[in-house]
């Protein structure tokens, strides 16, 4: 099989460019990121609230979210994990893409100031408030089988079936369910790649606010994370609030924190133009 290799000069030039990107990505962003949001969660201006609802433990929910609106997810009674998926309202083939999100931001640890990308190189959400920074991009949610193994003999609801229901009620199918973001799931990876639940990273009453950067449909599932150490199936309710977020300032944190976010927002702008 004939194959012409690239020249050492071309390889060296590409390597140099990557190393410059990597240096900027690893050294710049952590300095730019703020401390977690304060607890307890401050009240949202009542005039800005569009809708508020309590999702019972074990249940699913979905909502439209227009560009400029935000969703506060508040684990009011502590100890909840909320799985999140999202689709572009105008073209549901564009959806949450966690692998791009972690790859382009050089980290699996999402927190205040980070953004969440779609598969089309555009920003779906800015994490404008986040009290924990303890979320999980890797492990996915519970399934009927994982719950049956963990809670033998107990009737439970699970994240997989919840998201099939969310998709189905929106006219979507199993084919449309992207990899999920687990909010309030303090999962960390050890040197061998093993997953561990670092409960100390979480606080009772943690909340996160996600500002929509395009018109979207958002789906949530409120079930215990597969690594949740509680042997009893006892998911707590969470309060979701859809509200009009303040208009982002020129120096908006999420839009300026990293070179990658800046370029992502440039891609959003070209869609909106």
């Amino acid at each position: 099989m004939m194959h012409v290799r690239r020249s050492p000069e071309e390889i060296a030039a590409n390597r140099q460019r990557y190393e410059e990107h990597q240096k900027k990505g690893l050294e710049f962003a952590p300095k730019a990121l703020p401390a977690p949001s304060p607890l307890p969660a401050p009240a949202i201006d009542a005039a800005a609230i569009i809708h508020q609802e309590t999702i019972p433990g074990g249940w699913h929910w979905s909502t439209a979210l227009k560009r400029g609106e935000a969703l506060r997810i508040d684990q009011a009674e502590g100890g909840s994990t909320v799985a999140l998926v999202a689709w572009n309202a105008a073209d549901t083939s564009e959806r949450l893409n966690l692998v791009d999100t972690v790859k382009v931001q050089w980290t699996t640890a999402l927190g205040k100031g980070r953004v969440i990308f779609s598969d089309m190189g555009r920003v779906m959400f800015s994490l404008i408030e986040d009290s924990s920074g303890a979320h999980d991009c890797l492990m996915g949610g519970s399934t009927a089988a994982s719950n049956a193994a963990k809670y033998p003999g107990v009737k439970t609801r699970n994240t997989r079936d919840n998201l099939v229901l969310v998709a189905g009620k929106l006219g979507l199918t199993r084919r449309d369910i992207p990899a999920i973001l687990n909010l309030f799931a303090p999962v960390r990876v050890d040197d061998d790649g093993g997953f561990h639940w670092r409960g100390k990273l979480s606080n009772s009453g943690d909340y996160a606010e996600l500002r929509a950067e395009m018109d979207m449909i958002v789906g949530l599932s409120n079930c215990p994370h597969p690594l949740d150490p509680d042997p009893v199936y006892a998911p707590k309710p969470v309060i979701v609030t859809r509200f009009r977020a303040p208009v982002p300032a020129v120096d908006d944190l999420s839009r300026t924190a990293t070179a990658e976010a800046l370029r992502g927002f440039e891609n959003n702008a070209s869609m909106l133009a």
């Binding site: 099989m1 194959h3 290799r5 690239r6 071309e10 390889i11 590409n14 390597r15 460019r17 990557y18 990107h21 990597q22 990505g25 690893l26 549901t92 083939s93 959806r95 893409n97 966690l98 692998v99 791009d100 972690v102 790859k103 382009v104 050089w106 980290t107 699996t108 640890a109 990308f117 598969d119 089309m120 190189g121 555009r122 890797l138 492990m139 996915g140 399934t143 009927a144 089988a145 994982s146 997989r160 199918t173 199993r174 084919r175 449309d176 369910i177 992207p178 990899a179 999920i180 960390r188 990876v189 050890d190 040197d191 061998d192 790649g193 093993g194 997953f195 990658e260 370029r263 891609n267």
Partner: protein, 216 residues
Amino acid sequence: MTDFIKTSASRSLENAVQEHFIPAEAPWSGIVRKGQTIRIEDSYGQQAIDTLFYRADDFAERYSSQDTMRTQGGAYIGTGTKIISNEGNVMLIMTADSCGRHDTSAGACSCESNTVRFGHGTKYLHACRDNFVLEVTKHGMSKRDIVPNINFFMNVPIKPNGEMTIVDGISASGDYVELVAEMDVLCVISNCPQINNPCNGFDPTPIRVLIWDGED
């Protein structure tokens, strides 16, 4: 190119039922039947091989990186890893791995994500997502069917603080993985064209795929 490496007494280059050479940067797809073993060979070394699996008789059931990681309790792929579908079923089991490090957290490169990672000037470079879109379309699927994939031979260490970077692959010329199919699957490969990061040493190279019938 390297010589054949024997992993089983009954397996030779001569009795493989399929042999495919996939050029640098190109896509490929093919069916692997239950009981068959597929070997994916990094012919020249340090090449990332982006791979997806779909259940052959129901493409809505497909590889799930999150279910695979959750089920085995860890982020990396290696010998013994069960490849799990979005329905929680075992699709394949990795039975041999001469390399030792494969990724399933970083996904495939795309023209769109390249603009974000490396600048808008890198948009018009051939990328894995384009390969996947072309290849799955041959089977009646579309972009919505493309999910996070396995990157065989790609080295993406994740640190305890979450930090994650793509670093030089450790695979050498002739390194291989073998997977035995537990159901009939469609295997879709993008032989990664990325030249902006070290996943393939900034120099994409050809690969080889071999398939054997089950030993019974």
